[in-house]
Subunit: 337 residues, 2 copies
């Protein structure tokens, strides 16, 4: 499809796909657009895909209209936005924006111990991870079209929304080590139950997040693995994973500190040991002024009054914002898919 | 070993093993003793086994001393006391005491869907499950020797304890159904997080159990499975399993009612649905007066002042108590194993 539209296609060493419509002045920084085509189960047919096909269709519509761009326009299909096989999402955009260093990326391996480097070369991608990062000034701006995945546009029956900021995501993995034992024989005062500590910490996450008073602060404990996990065994070890997001980075960090304090109180009182791993704590992204203006004007030209909203999910644009001005357009979706 | 001691050995249809030293009046009900030889991981070398080998050694010691019993003495090795492959422990003693009906036992299957009937016949046990139940009056009394698995005898440095009662065990499986969603996009006030409901219920179990004020009441949430179980997904469904025990059956049942009430409050407030399954809720067993007297006298004859204590773990004797008078002797063990 890209080649049929006279786009020049290339792939980088990790599988990001670039399709460039060369402008009349190829020396200028390009305008990028695109998204991802991988998706988690039940994400629906549009997550990511609408941004890749939408970008291609935008290019083809401009071509049909006889438009001749001065700057090159480049369609991007990012690799591994959703899959967390190597522990993190947005692998492609993290690497090409330099948010993830090639050196660190080479140390990543999956659950079976296969390294990212092994997996990508086995999949036929040549070159080295060091080559993935884009040169400075490669893009003049980056725009992403995406389904909202939230309830706002659907509830208000608005077709599109202009994203003002992308929430700052952070995720933590916490190991709690207590003392196991037989559920019948260890008396209650002698217990150091790792799962009850995890329960208190999880409820503290909710309460700390709610106490900011800001609707944009969200926090979730999505993983809780209990060992040994038998009805007649006191849990000796529990792993929980916590996700905290906010469009205000400082407020997000204050929540993380309050969670730390709650962990300290709970583990001391219950005599349980804690080990914490910060999986990621990325800063938020704010949309560029020019990108916002362009998107708002486009909405008005189509007879839609521009509707601003933040993105609480994160997207490849969060990482593209490290190297260029970004803008996102959200499309209304039914029940988030 | 049993045959070498002139015992008549038979196996029943589910693998319970009987070795009888025929008394001078074989028409009288026998005295039973024994335990199990299976064990959970890390249970140590003595759990159960000490009662089987100890029973055999007691018989051999009596034989060496030239004792001639009037009643037959029968050594029992119960099948599947520990394994919960079919969802319950003490499978052998439940079946032969009629605590578990053969009809119900035939409906049991393991995680792979293999029925108990299939597994036991594949293992070479003939006859039908209906034949396992013992005829009325089969035993005059049943005595079990077992390691304590608790800290009392070790802490007080007492070699043996006479068990006065076996705690009434109950276990519940609870399914909580909330609403899933993306950890970034669903705002806090709109959430129905099944894991936070599970956390509150688990803490309520602890608080209800502690509030009885009795050291003999224990309660544990040993299983918590979270679906879908991803750091960026709000838990939509959680399964927890609760174990509650007490040597006072009425107090145990009051705890179960208080847990039900807490479940009702939590699920209503959080908008989460609950499904409860009572896996078992057995009554407690109290040791027989004659068995207690015999054990106390034996202690005194050995120069040990009799030390009474309850069993908070349950044992095959709990089910044997349904058909005959029981007594248990606990042996001191280091760190419960």
């Amino acid at each position: 499809l890209c080649r049929a539209a006279n786009l020049i296609v290339r792939e980088d060493a990790v599988g990001n796909l670039f399709a460039r419509w060369v402008g009349s002045d190829p020396s200028l920084a390009a305008i990028g657009t695109g998204s991802h085509t991988d998706a988690i189960p039940f994400a629906g047919a549009y997550d990511g895909t609408v941004g890749v096909l939408g970008g291609l269709e935008a290019i083809r519509a401009l071509q049909r209209a006889g438009f001749q761009p001065r700057r090159s326009i480049e369609l991007l299909m990012f690799t591994s936005e959703e899959p967390t096989r190597f522990g993190i999402g947005c692998l492609g955009s993290r690497l090409l924006s330099g948010s993830l260093q090639a050196g660190r990326a080479k140390t990543l391996s999956d659950k079976e111990g296969q390294s990212l480097d092994h997996v990508r070369t086995a999949a036929g991608f040549t070159g080295t991870l060091d080559d993935v990062v884009l040169p400075e000034g490669y893009y003049e701006a980056f725009l992403e079209l995406h389904v909202e995945q939230g309830p706002v546009l659907e509830a208000r029956n608005i077709p599109v929304g202009v994203v003002t900021a992308i929430a700052a995501p952070a995720s933590l993995r916490i190991w709690l080590d207590g003392e196991g034992g037989h559920a019948g024989t260890v008396l209650m005062p002698q217990r150091h139950d790792a799962f009850l500590a995890a329960s208190e910490i999880s409820l503290a996450v909710e309460s700390v997040v709610k106490s900011t008073g800001a609707i944009d602060t969200v926090g979730t404990v999505g993983v809780c693995d209990v060992f040994p996990g038998a009805v007649n065994s006191i849990p000796s070890r529990v792993k929980i994973e916590i996700d905290v997001r906010d469009i205000d980075g400082a407020r997000r960090d204050a929540v993380l500190r309050a969670i730390d304090e709650a962990c300290g109180r709970v583990t001391e009182r219950r005599g349980v040991k804690l080990k914490k791993e910060v999986l990621n704590a990325d800063p938020p992204a704010h949309s560029g002024r020019r990108a916002l203006n362009a998107l708002n004007q486009s909405c008005e030209r189509c007879g839609i009054s521009p509707f601003p909203l933040p993105s609480r999910a994160y997207h490849d644009s969060l990482f593209m914002s490290r190297i260029t001005e970004v803008g996102m357009l959200f499309v209304r979706c039914r029940e988030g898919v």
